[in-house]
């Protein structure tokens, strides 16, 4: 067993001595562990996703649901960049645009089927991620914000001015998904059940992509790459000192974020069958960022909640649609002032698990056998933890 584990590590000059004692295994139940509960919650969410069309398959509901799912996908991607890697991206919608336009151009101008445009979309997004990532690697967070914003504007204005992108009116007649001669347009009858609405198919495609996207981003965040991102976010120098190439870590965060947004862009292009530069204004970058921040940067459930809030709020508050950006603006300030980590912070512990957490242990050391000197503080408990504050 131990040997098999060793193979999972590269050869290194120094290995840790075997653990001295077994630490208690983490609980695995639904209600007595954080991960168990989150998994159960995820399962419920997936069930709900699958069940929704059977509850209400009206065009309106499905359409809203699809756009909400697209928001979730976008937010999960931005969450990788902002929440995990700590890189503020204010032009995130540009990657969405790249995905939508690339798939739109490949299918309408070149006449490729939609599934064939998929690799092209991903590739274009990877390139876009590198283009924006590379020059910004050494910039400070605030410069980064402006550079990404500028990048977003460049993409939008370019799309507005080029002929291949259809100029201000955009691209129309983007085909839907089709497989081996059968298209979503055709409808389908399975075992006597009729699926006439293409929008329902889109819903399922979107749901599958989003489930994969959410789980994938979550898994990446827990592995080696995710730890590297979080380390870069918390302390870049310390991350370098731990052997993490921070350039690579940052670029990879950009690329993953770009690919997620690109996939969302392709979903949207096929869903609406038309795209135009107006859908890619700075406003939307800000909205997605807002969703991530409101929900809780770096927290999957938080980000999903934020995305659903931002996408569904205008529908629920139809009468206040005019006010929504004002409300969002105020909300953003208020959340930052009073709950800077968001509604469901990444560091949140389920309330009923909190009391099980042991308190920080008192300083115990078998080696401290030497009696304290006369200079030792008379009141000083052995767990003294003094630190000079003013040092920088």
């Amino acid at each position: 067993m131990a040997r098999r584990l060793d193979l999972a590590l590269k050869h290194a000059p120094l290995r840790a001595p075997a653990p001295l004692f077994d630490r208690p295994r983490a609980a695995r139940g639904v209600f007595d562990s954080q991960t168990g509960f989150m998994r159960a919650l995820g399962g419920v969410a997936v069930l709900f996703l699958v069940a929704l069309p059977f509850i209400d398959a009206s065009r309106y509901t499905m359409s809203i649901a699809i756009s909400a799912l697209i928001y979730v996908m976008l937010c999960m991607g931005l969450n990788v960049v902002v929440g995990y890697a700590g890189l503020l991206d204010l032009g995130y919608i540009a990657f969405f645009a790249v995905g939508a336009y690339v798939s739109g151009i490949f299918t309408t101008v070149l006449g490729w089927p939609m599934w064939a445009a998929l690799p092209a979309t991903v590739l274009a997004c990877i390139i876009a991620g590198i283009i924006i990532g590379a020059p910004t690697l050494r910039l400070r967070s605030d410069y980064l914000a402006i550079v990404t914003l500028g990048f977003g504007e460049i993409i939008r204005i370019t799309a507005n001015n080029l002929t291949i992108t259809g100029g201000p009116s955009g691209i129309h007649g983007i085909p839907s998904w089709d497989f081996f001669g059968w298209s979503f347009e055709d409808g389908l009858t399975v075992f006597g059940l009729e699926f006439p609405e293409r929008v329902v198919f889109y819903y399922f495609v979107a749901a599958v992509v989003i489930i994969v996207g959410v789980i994938g981003a979550g898994r990446l965040a827990k592995g080696k790459l995710g730890r590297a991102w979080k380390a870069v976010r918390d302390d870049e120098d310390a991350a370098e000192a731990m052997g993490i190439n921070t350039y690579v870590a940052k670029i990879s965060a950009y690329i993953i974020g770009a690919v997620w947004a690109g996939l969302a862009g392709q979903l949207m292009a096929t869903h609406l069958s038309a795209i135009s530069p107006n859908s890619f204004q700075f406003l939307y970058s800000a909205l997605i960022l807002m969703a991530v921040v409101l929900g809780g940067m770096g927290s999957t459930p938080g980000v999903i909640i934020g995305a659903l809030f931002v996408s569904l709020a205008p529908e629920l508050l139809r009468d206040f649609a005019e006010w929504r950006f004002l409300i969002f603006g105020v909300l953003l300030v208020v959340v930052m002032l009073f709950r800077p980590a968001g509604l469901w912070p990444a560091t949140a512990i389920l309330p009923w698990l909190k009391r099980d957490r042991p308190q920080p242990p008192p300083f115990t050391s078998a080696t401290a056998a030497v009696p304290p000197s006369v200079l030792e503080s008379p009141s000083g408990a052995p767990d003294a933890d003094v630190r000079e504050g003013g040092r920088g």
């Binding site: 000197s373 030792e376 503080s377 008379p378 009141s379 003294a384 003094v386 630190r387 000079e388 504050g389």
Partner: protein
């Protein structure tokens, strides 16, 4: 009657307990020294006195004024001036501008001019370099600017945080002479030092601070002979 009284001060940085019921006094006209290693809580004490951090409990009063409630700028205006660790002079401003900033709380231009003259008199080296940018000075000169800046503010109590830090022994001696001279002109001095040897030479009384609390106190001469101090701070 002590000019400065600190009683049972507790300071926390987040969960870190930096000062633990720290108490000491400084009398009018004295040089009192706080000795201790890195991280013992000396700079925290200074920051508490100048209003940069607030104690969670305990008191610090100066001539009856409660320092724990006052704003840093009011404390300075009252003549309690803190020369911070690492000198912290304004590197892209000239020596003269640095000194002028020291007189920020002084409204009367004549008073400022008078004090500037005094600073240039005590530290003629600064007069030579008055147009030079602070960042280009040597460590010793920067320390002089930092002290001079405080003098222009008209201190009644001078808080000096590690004035000898990073200075050559000869320069340390000069700086200590300047401090003694300032004190001789009637300014009370609270000196925080790791360099116990240099500090105990000019101080009247001293306290040893460890892990945020006073562990020993006495006159400078007593402490310089105390075997525990010799072992920990004077001996090598």
């Amino acid at each position: 009657m002590s000019a400065l009284e600190v009683r049972d001060a507790d300071v926390y940085y987040g969960r870190v307990h930096a000062l633990r019921r720290l108490s000491f006094d400084v009398g009018e006209g004295e040089i009192v020294c706080l000795l201790g290693n890195n991280g013992a809580g000396k700079s925290t004490t200074m920051n508490m006195l100048s209003g940069l951090v607030r104690p969670r409990s305990g008191s610090a009063t100066w001539n009856g004024v409660d320092l724990t409630a006052a704003k840093p700028w009011n404390i300075v205006a009252d003549g309690l001036i803190h020369v911070p660790e690492g000198r912290r002079i304004f590197s892209t401003m000239t020596v003269h501008e640095n000194l002028l900033l020291g007189g920020y709380t002084v409204r009367d231009r004549r008073v400022i001019a008078e004090r500037l003259d005094r600073v240039y008199e005590i530290m003629p080296r600064l007069a030579e370099r008055r147009r030079q940018q602070g960042g280009t000075l040597s460590g010793g000169e920067q320390q002089m600017v930092a002290i001079g800046r405080a003098i222009v503010g008209g201190p009644r109590l001078l808080l000096l945080d590690e004035p000898s830090m990073g200075l050559a022994p000869l320069v340390v001696k000069q700086v200590m002479e300047i401090i003694a001279a300032v004190n001789a002109q009637g300014t009370t001095v609270l000196l925080v030092e790791q360099n116990a040897r240099a500090a105990l030479k000019i101080a009247h009384r001293a306290y040893v601070v460890e892990t945020g609390a006073v562990t020993l106190s006495g006159t400078a001469a007593e402490l310089a002979r105390d075997p525990r101090v010799v072992e920990a701070y004077l001996g090598a």
